[in-house]
């Protein structure tokens, strides 16, 4: 509510308050503070669901039912000794975690969390922001690759190589799958897409194939089983993060968590009609919808085994890309009929 009041005040007071508003956006909601709390919560949900599917409890004694576990991990890593390997490129090695964190937080800004309607949009929404989000979401992958590369450890390098190889596989299907609802909605603006489907919820069923393609691609982007090839611990130890420790590792873990939130937020916006209902209801909508997606991701993680890198690329091009194209065709045909 504080935000809401500030928002109203800002309208009256003009540009001074606009700065404050922007700061609030950046640091409180939907910025860093909210993302930090919510992403750690999501990690807890993910770990807990994964453990329960395996007939275990998962984190239990840190806070209530282990809910503070990711935060404890984060703080502990912050307080640990920070080692930069001698051979590593020191500047890049230290800068990359911060870059990564910045990028994913930036992407979160573009999610239409704050949009009441198309009329009153927030400061950062503009036509074509879907493309920007899709583009920015590619960057964390690049960061992972560079992180592996600049560790100059064999396993990290191998992990980095695998990150890029995988990128070729899932990026195109993901983009195609995300674009098809946009084409149906006739807009490249996330808020407008969400609005379009809020008005016509039945049309969401058309995109069901695309939804699943996007879900699988998101799993690959987040590098989780069955696509955790870049840091498959039984093969290449810690993969890209082998040499990272302390604060930098903490940032990377936080980054991966936020990426998960942002990715599921993107899918929820595009395929599940966004988050209508203003500040409070929008937030509740956001939480419910992203949690559904995170639950699906956890189940996927539990039922599959890791596949090989060649199988992964093979799979993307043989199944995911054609399915995404099929989805696109369906959408185009349907659009013709609707007109």
């Amino acid at each position: 509510m504080v935000n809401r009041i500030l928002y109203e005040k800002a309208k009256i007071n003009g540009c001074n308050m606009a700065v404050l508003k922007t700061l609030l956006y950046l640091f409180v909601y939907p910025g860093i503070l909210f993302l930090f709390v919510y992403s750690t919560f999501c990690e807890w949900v993910d770990r807990k669901v994964y453990a329960r599917l395996q007939n275990r409890y998962g984190p239990l004694h840190t806070g209530r039912a282990g809910i503070l576990q990711p935060i404890a991990d984060f703080i502990k890593l912050l307080s640990k000794e920070d080692i930069v390997p001698e051979k590593a490129d020191k500047g890049m090695f230290s800068a990359l975690p911060v870059f990564g964190l910045t990028i994913v937080t930036l992407v979160a800004m573009y999610l239409p969390l704050w949009h009441y309607s198309v009329g009153t949009v927030s400061f950062n929404s503009f036509p074509g922001d879907l493309i920007v989000v899709a583009y920015l979401l590619t960057l964390p992958t690049l960061i992972f690759f560079l992180a592996g590369w600049h560790s100059s450890n064999l396993f990290s390098t191998l992990g980095g190589a695998r990150v890029l190889t995988m990128l070729f596989g899932y990026e195109v299907p993901l983009l195609l799958a995300v674009l098809s609802p946009a084409i149906l909605a006739d807009s490249w603006r996330l808020a407008e897409i969400a609005n379009f489907y809020q008005a016509r919820p039945l049309l969401l069923l058309v995109n069901i194939i695309g939804f699943f393609v996007a879900l699988i691609c998101l799993q690959a982007k987040l590098e989780r089983v069955p696509f955790d090839i870049p840091h498959a611990e039984t093969e290449i130890v810690g993969g890209t993060f082998t040499e990272y420790s302390g604060k930098k590792l903490a940032f990377f873990r936080l980054m991966a968590d936020i990426e998960m939130v942002v990715g599921s937020g993107l899918i929820a916006t595009v395929f599940m009609a966004g988050f209508p209902g203003g500040l409070i209801w929008g937030l509740i909508n956001f939480i419910i919808k992203t949690l559904i997606i995170i639950f699906l991701l956890s189940v996927m993680r539990a039922v599959t085994s890791r596949i090989r890198i060649d199988q992964m690329v093979n799979f993307s091009w043989r199944w995911l890309a054609p399915l995404a194209v099929l989805q696109l065709l369906i959408v185009i045909i349907l659009k013709g009929i609707l007109k």
Partner: protein
């Protein structure tokens, strides 16, 4: 495309034991493999010459933690032959029962590890949860979860009562259901199959010429099993079949092990139901006449062989232990070649390596490695850039939908 080397081990998460594998890679494809052991070498054979027969019983048991009964029982049978001792029949039944229970625990463990290496942690968790059933049975029989110490010269150390019998039968029933589930449903999971099938090919001829043993050999279609070929303990009167598979890959090895599990349940039930009455052990002498003996045993991983030479004192003159893992190394190197990096742990796990067994006195390096080729980082970078410009290699493996 240039080659570069990846060292795996001695401390590596896929290998719970220290071993050093040096892989020469071409992209993601393994060109050559080189093994360096010795990290786990403790010198047990020398130690055995300084200890008396009873102490050696526990020493051999601790050659390996997973197949602990195998080594102890193999040694025990050998010494009994040296002592010219006829062990008590009830004791033999109990021994065999523990041996089969150990096979069950080892194979379940292997299934879980295979799942873990393939990144399928759920499968790993389930099999290990089921494994706890058999661990509990072993604990109530012997008083320890892993090192059972059930063998002694002349029979078994502990008896089984009716309550324990009932518990064993119940446990077998639970495990049989679970194993059937894994056989029918578990191995139809496509991502799992995709990881296992076609990996680590070892043809029948290769398997025979490289002296492979155990499930590795049987998965290549060679029905060789010491329990059938050279029956010891009470195996001669037990109903069981030797399980084989013809696929010659990791999937075949998994199937062989699951089938063996079902055979083992059958054997355990038979042993419990037909347990003879009588003493569990006979008294054994401390000193042993001068003689020599070869004792063979089918451990969960394959043939286990002990050569014991006595010299008339209470200490052996020479104890030679050949663990199954060692026999499978030569085959492993052959299997690793032309595989993918991702397959290293799987192939290596497929022989169910027990490095501690193999290394009680031996180190080995592949003969075919030739000179080592090392790359500097700059070269590696160049190589990698080249690698990205090309399309990733695709082999004949298809996505089995």
């Amino acid at each position: 495309m240039a080659e570069f080397q990846v060292p795996i081990g001695p401390q590596h998460p896929a290998l719970k034991e220290p071993i050093s594998l040096r892989m020469t890679l071409d992209g993601e494809v393994i060109k050559d493999a080189d093994l360096k052991l010795g990290y786990n070498h403790r010198g047990i054979e020398k130690l055995a010459e300084e200890r008396n027969y009873i102490q050696n019983l526990y020493l051999t048991e601790r050659i390996c933690g997973i197949c602990s009964n195998s080594h102890a029982m193999c040694y025990c049978q050998g010494v009994e032959k040296l002592m010219e001792l006829e062990p008590a029949r009830r004791g033999l039944f109990i021994r065999t029962l523990v041996a089969e229970l150990e096979r069950i625990h080892s194979h379940l463990l292997w299934l879980g590890i295979a799942g873990h290496e393939a990144g399928f942690d759920t499968f790993f968790m389930y099999t290990w949860r089921d494994r706890e059933v058999v661990m509990d049975l072993l604990e109530i029989i012997s008083g320890n979860r892993v090192h059972y110490s059930i063998n002694t010269f002349g029979g078994a150390r502990r008896d089984i009562d009716d309550l324990q019998k009932q518990k064993i039968l119940d446990g077998m029933e639970v495990l049989r259901n679970r194993t059937n589930y894994y056989l029918n449903i578990g191995v139809t999971e496509p991502t799992f199959i995709a990881r296992l099938s076609g990996v680590g090919k070892l043809t029948k001829e290769q398997a025979v010429s490289l002296c492979a043993v155990g499930p590795t050999l049987r998965a290549s279609g060679v029905p060789r099993d010491v329990r059938k070929d050279d029956p010891y303990a009470v195996y001669a009167e037990l109903p069981f079949e030797v399980c084989t598979a013809d696929s010659c890959d990791v999937l075949g090895r998994a199937v062989v092990r699951i089938k063996e599990l079902i055979e083992s349940y059958k054997m355990c039930e038979y042993l419990v139901k037909n347990l003879p009455v009588g003493e569990i052990k006979v008294k054994a002498p401390r000193r042993v006449k001068e003689n020599e003996v070869i004792s063979r045993y089918e451990a969960p991983r394959g043939e286990n062989m002990h050569y014991i030479k006595s010299n008339g004192t209470d200490k052996p003159e020479r104890l030679k232990v050949r663990a199954p893992t060692l026999a499978n190394y030569a085959a492993t190197i052959e299997m690793l070649k032309h595989g993918f990096v991702a397959d290293i742990p799987l192939i290596f796990a497929a022989i169910d390596p027990c490095i501690c067994c193999a290394e009680r006195s031996v180190t080995l390096i592949d003969s075919k490695t030739g000179e080592e080729k090392r790359m500097f980082f700059s070269q590696l970078r160049k190589w990698s850039i080249e690698y990205y410009t090309k399309k990733p290699k695709l082999t004949g493996v298809t996505w089995p939908f």
